[in-house]
């Protein structure tokens, strides 16, 4: 149940619609958000994998970064190649600290005359303060308080959005463009957090409900809450900040070495570069892996992982039931020697050792758009 009194919680521009749709509202990152609708997490999850779902992710932080040197300045806070990001392209990256840990993960889009950033709801205040403190005069941060963000995810997402604007069809994965959606000016990125094809659509808060209703009128689209968002991303092997990555995990331990731009690997110049580049060249003591419990019992976050001799080798960071897998799935960190898929492990759930195996990070095939 909610620990936080509802009146202290912020609401997104779609709050009234969630309530109207029968959303079960819970406190999340200071917002009153739908964890599920009457269909339930299982159906919402499966609908996303078979058709298309609409998620309200307006609680996430959106901002522009202005200035001729904005990309160069931003690179002092993260290891991604932002200067090399073409106009209209989006990149996943992470803010790092001086120890090589991760302060947040985020999406950066090059809009040509400025950068567009999307950061996690729980981290946004800290992220924006961090940027303002460190970027100083080199770039100007414009926090977009009045914008909503709607994720449309699933194999039919492209059909749905193309019915509103034909430009949606052939947008490359991780590209961004402005488009008119039934009279609403939207900034659309082909990306998501489910492992499926889909879009994240940024619109003015006042237009959010109109657009959401338009999308929900499409027979392919059903609303989905934060519960399904979590099971979908877990099956897809995607990190949840605060669970699977945090200030104590480096991008290399987390299996995110691909966020390091080639030029950045050579030049360094980002917080924690010494630690991160050392991890990259020498390997890490632990690695993020998928874990598939053999039985039916889920192994949830903080479950201790042992090897078959009873030695502690790691910990689950996210775990639960995977509706598309039809059984429990998890991810966590294990000692590098045990990180190979197929390695048998024991999961210590309520004092019992439940057998499981290391698995590749994704439990479902990622089905991002390829032309």
């Amino acid at each position: 149940m909610n620990d936080q009194p509802t009146q202290d919680l912020q609401q997104t521009p779609l709050h009234a619609l969630h309530v109207e749709l029968g959303g079960k509202m819970v406190a999340f990152a200071g917002y009153d958000m739908p964890v599920q609708y009457p269909a339930g997490i299982m159906d919402e999850h499966l609908h996303t994998r078979s058709a298309a779902s609409l998620f309200d992710v307006s609680h996430m932080g959106q901002a522009f970064l202005h200035g001729e040197d904005a990309a160069k300045a931003l690179e002092t806070l993260l290891p991604g190649d932002i200067q090399g990001l073409a106009v209209g392209r989006t990149r996943y990256t992470v803010f790092t600290n001086d120890h090589g840990g991760i302060l947040d993960d985020l999406m950066v889009t090059n809009l040509g005359d400025r950068l567009f950033l999307v950061v996690n709801a729980a981290c946004k205040d800290a992220d924006f303060a961090h940027m303002e403190r460190h970027l100083g005069d080199r770039a100007k941060l414009e926090i977009l308080e009045d914008r909503a963000l709607i994720a449309l995810q699933g194999p039919n997402a492209s059909d749905v959005l193309t019915r509103l604007n034909a430009d949606a069809r052939t947008m490359p994965f991780m590209s961004s463009t402005e488009m008119d959606l039934n009279g609403v000016v939207a900034f659309v990125t082909r990306s998501g957090y489910t492992g499926e094809d889909g879009y994240e659509i940024s619109v003015a808060g006042r237009d959010a409900e109109t657009l959401a209703r338009t999308l929900l009128e499409d027979a392919d689209v059903a609303p989905a809450g934060l519960g399904a968002r979590d099971t979908l991303r877990l099956e897809a092997g995607l990190c949840l900040y605060g669970n699977d990555i945090d200030e104590t995990t480096t991008p290399i331990e987390a299996g995110l070495s691909w966020v390091l731009g080639k030029r950045r690997r050579e030049e360094g110049g980002f917080p924690g570069a010494d630690v991160i580049l050392e991890h990259l060249s020498s390997g890490t003591e632990r690695k993020r892996v998928g874990i598939r419990p053999d039985g039916k019992a889920p192994a949830r976050a903080h479950t201790v992982i042992e090897d078959t001799d009873g030695n502690t080798i790691g910990e689950i960071t996210s775990g639960g039931f995977g509706p598309s897998v039809g059984g429990p799935v998890a991810m966590g960190y294990v000692a590098a020697a045990h990180a190979e898929p197929g390695t048998p492990v024991n999961l210590m759930v309520r004092g019992k050792a439940l057998p499981g195996r290391v698995h590749r990070l994704a439990f479902v095939d990622q089905r991002y758009y390829k032309p």
């Binding site: 964890v35 599920q36 997490i41 519960g227 019992a297 429990p328 309520r350």
Partner: protein, 124 residues
């Protein structure tokens, strides 16, 4: 005897010296889709308030407590293959386990149907 309820949303139906125990319909609706139930071992002795089983929904793991003291005499084995029975019929086919009661008077202060209904309504 009719059903009695605990504040933790378990129900109890006494049949002779045996109590049949499950979770209320309100509880199952709050948990959401149930995917796994860890039932107690038959023969296990439970004191009132002990953790008796764990119900795993898609969302989270929740404990079920023994509403009275006794020995576990039977568990609902159907739930191993079909835990969703608790969602479908929480107060019938979705029963969890049976206890041979050591002191039936421990059940005296549980809520009856009307009191439990009022209790749930208060929770909103």
């Amino acid at each position: 005897m009719s059903m009695k309820y605990t504040k933790e949303h378990e129900w109890v139906r006494v049949e002779g010296d045996t109590a049949v125990i499950g979770i209320s319909d309100y509880a199952q609706s709050q948990l959401g889709e149930i995917v796994f139930i860890e039932l107690p071992d038959t023969g296990k002795t439970l004191a009132r308030g002990d953790e008796a089983c764990v119900i795993e929904s898609v969302k989270a793991a929740s404990e079920v407590y023994a509403p009275a003291s006794g020995d576990v005499s039977e568990t609902n084995g159907d739930l191993d293959t079909d835990p969703g029975k608790v969602n479908e019929d929480a107060t019938g086919e979705g029963w969890l386990f049976k206890l041979s009661l050591s002191d039936a008077s421990e059940l005296d202060d549980l809520m009856d149907e009307a009191a439990y209904k009022a209790y749930v309504e208060e929770l909103g």
